[in-house]
């Protein structure tokens, strides 16, 4: 599977990476081919048109895509680990039947939690839902930083139905792009992952039928925590894939192309040690990612592992992709190859699905609990 995704990424995505980054937009043909390859329904069972694979397969796919383009990777990551998983886990039979086949074959999904005034403190969200007399729900508010918004047809939206209960009033709903009152207000211009759309979306009294409530009333916060705990492993895989892609790109250059002082620049010991150190860090990060995935798969407690994996992978990605530019000298600095892009892309790993500080807080909390006598 890894080989197949890697081949696909190299030949179908690879040639478009530079142009998509410059244009700050995702080529629709890339999205189409992700569906064709089954990469948008990795964990969706075959009966709904998915590949019926496991979580680890999703991680492998996300990592392989990121090796070539972290923007394409995050599109696939959010869609699979946040949107598909939410419906698979908590969707009713009717909801699964309605949405999973679409999500596996043609419709991109988004996950809408963050808002202008609630980022790290996600559950301070202000979007409101009210129940109408007919039993439907009316959603009103504004979401920010919504990945895939430009491409998506399905949005999972967290809104507070009973604000008096605080975060325990948060519920999750499915909104479709065509619903009245739904609009994309602004597309952000970003430092990195520029081909991945990130938008402000508005919900102006959007009415959704009762059956679009995901799971149970008031459990939205639990779902969000659960999804992000898992999703984090996906982001960690995006970061290790990125680091590997940046490293390989530079390694090929220094060991095959660039000569100075009569020899390949990669043959200087000063360079070799840096390359070896960087590769070791990548391998360590990957071991953390796949260990977290393994634990999740085995039903073990993986929250701390996921947090550490994301924290460390994003640090390694930043470090290695930055060094890779230096190894390539001027050629790493120009907007021709992928070196400088990988470095710009790496920064997001320390921000979304919980900033590095938030991961550290999670790890520390769990450690303190364990070591408090």
């Amino acid at each position: 599977m890894k080989e197949s995704v890697s081949k696909f990424a190299d030949s179908e995505v690879g040639p478009k990476v530079r142009d998509m980054d410059e244009a700050e937009s995702m080529d629709p043909s890339v999205v189409e081919s992700l569906f064709e390859q089954g990469l948008m329904g990795i964990e969706i069972p075959e009966e709904y048109g998915g590949a019926g694979m496991n979580f680890t397969a999703a991680i492998v796919g996300i990592e392989e895509l990121a090796r070539v383009d972290p923007s394409v990777s995050v599109l696939c990551d959010v869609h699979n680990t946040l949107v598909n998983t939410a419906i698979l886990k908590w969707g009713s039979a009717a909801m699964k039947k309605k949405y999973l086949p679409k999500l596996a074959t043609e419709t991109v999904g988004s996950f809408c939690l963050s808002e202008p005034a609630s980022g790290s403190d996600a559950f301070a969200l202000k979007t409101r839902a009210t129940k109408t007399d007919s039993g439907s729900y009316r959603i009103s508010g504004s979401k920010m930083w919504i990945t895939n918004a430009m491409e998506s047809g399905v949005f999972i939206v967290f809104a507070n139905l009973e604000p008096s209960k605080g975060y325990k009033g948060i519920s999750a709903f499915i909104v479709e792009k065509g619903d009245r009152g739904f609009s994309i207000a602004k597309k952000e211009k970003k430092l990195g992952i520029r081909a991945s759309s990130t938008c402000v979306v508005n919900f102006d009294d959007v009415e959704v039928p009762a059956e679009n409530l995901l799971g149970k009333v008031g459990e939205g916060y639990k779902y969000a925590i659960g999804l992000l705990n898992e999703g984090r492993i996906g982001i960690a895989a995006q970061m290790t894939g990125l680091a590997l892609g940046a490293w390989e790109n530079a390694a090929k250059y220094v060991w095959n192309d660039r000569k100075q002082f009569g020899q390949l620049v990669g043959s200087f010991q000063g360079m070799q040690h840096q390359l070896a150190q960087a590769y070791t860090e990548i391998c360590a990060a990957r071991a953390m990612v796949f260990n977290a995935a393994r634990k999740k798969e085995a039903g073990e407690d993986f929250v701390m592992d996921a947090a550490m994996a994301k924290l460390f992978s994003s640090q390694v990605a930043g470090r290695v992709s930055g060094q890779a530019i230096e190894w390539m000298g001027g050629m790493g600095f120009v907007r021709e190859g992928i070196a400088e892009k990988m470095w710009r892309d790496s920064k997001i790993g320390a921000i979304y699905e919980g900033t590095s500080n938030i991961q550290l807080t999670t790890v520390a909390k769990l450690l303190q609990k364990e070591y408090t006598t």
């Binding site: 599977m1 197949s4 179908e12 089954g38 075959e46 590949a51 694979m53 796919g61």
Partner: protein, 320 residues
């Protein structure tokens, strides 16, 4: 009537008109009794080779290529064959009732066969042959003959060569052993009922041949663009069957007739030089003693030295 048709066939090489040639071939084939069933049973031999992107390294004892720990994959020409088999099925012109992937080689060939099945082959047969004693083309051809007969295949789509040993012999030997018609280096395959039309690209044009099933087709790069196995198909392939067989099952003797004396790396390429124009290139080549005679001809032609130093096929205009 039969003999006159045969005579006509012998003359084929002297005819220039493709139409004339085709009608002659058709004329001959129509003499053959129709004996095949209407659906296609396609046999696709696949080989596990060192990945095309890997630079092969000669082993220390200079007896072969280092294969330990080296990435292997499905021979690219065999990917074309699998893809074509699947496309024949998708085109729905002639029903395809079976696409059988076959491989003879070490245990790891199972991965290669899984890839073939993920691309669309229905099932697979694996004959285990030790990695250090690979079959020679004739051995493979004998084996394929036995498989094609046992499985009642009526079309064998075989890569024109494997990228490891580049022998390029198996398809032709198999055609000889089976006594079936063959079309080599296909760039296009069309099947209508039992009539198969195969196009191959030749210098300055295309060559089209027509034959009737059963037949052998060897595949070339321009035939199609192989798909990447999609994730759902990878999962489906896991449920498909790989039948394990032995050489004895097919009554084939795998003993080698050829002995590899020595394998060497090609000499490292020396840096090139730049020339200004065609005249500069010609005088440079002469100076280096790399050509023995060179006339720039008004029409394409070959210039070669008896000991095969360099063959040029050029006109002044296409050099410039």
């Amino acid at each position: 009537m039969y003999s006159s048709q045969t005579n006509k066939c012998l003359l084929i090489d002297f005819w220039h008109s493709v139409a004339e040639r085709e009608s002659a071939v058709r004329g001959r084939l129509e003499c053959l009794p129709a004996r095949m069933s209407k659906s296609l049973r396609i046999l696709v031999p696949v080989k596990r080779v060192i990945d095309y992107a890997i630079k092969p390294r000669v082993n220390k004892s200079q007896t072969g290529i280092d294969t330990a720990g080296v990435k292997h994959s499905l021979n690219p020409f065999d990917e074309l064959s699998i893809e074509e088999a699947v496309r024949l099925r998708e085109r729905k012109k002639t029903p395809v009732s079976d696409i059988l992937a076959f491989s003879a080689g070490p245990a790891k060939c199972a991965d290669t066969l899984r890839t073939a099945m993920a691309m669309g082959a229905d099932r697979a047969i694996h004959v285990e042959v030790p990695e250090d004693q690979p079959l020679e083309p004739l051995g493979v051809a004998k084996l394929l003959k036995a498989v094609a007969e046992k499985e009642e295949s009526n079309l064998v789509l075989v890569g024109k060569q494997a990228i490891d040993d580049d022998s390029g012999q198996t398809g032709q030997m198999l055609a000889g052993l089976l006594g079936w018609p063959q079309a080599t280096q296909a760039s296009k395959v069309e099947i209508e009922g039992e009539t198969v039309t195969v196009t191959k690209e030749v210098d300055g044009g295309v060559d089209t041949v027509r034959a009737r099933l059963p037949m052998i087709i060897t595949t070339d790069l321009r035939l199609n663009e192989p798909r990447y196995a999609s994730l759902p198909n990878i999962m489906k392939a896991k449920k498909k069957k790989i039948e394990k067989k032995t050489l004895e099952d097919y009554g084939v003797d795998g003993r080698r007739r050829l002995k590899t004396i020595k394998v060497e790396e090609p000499p490292p390429r020396k840096g090139g030089g730049k020339v200004q124009d065609v005249d500069g290139m010609i005088s440079k080549l002469k100076e280096l003693g790399k050509i023995w005679a060179f006339d720039v001809l008004p029409f394409p032609s070959s210039v070669s030295r008896p000991d095969g130093f360099l063959t040029l096929n050029a006109t002044r205009s296409n050099l410039e």
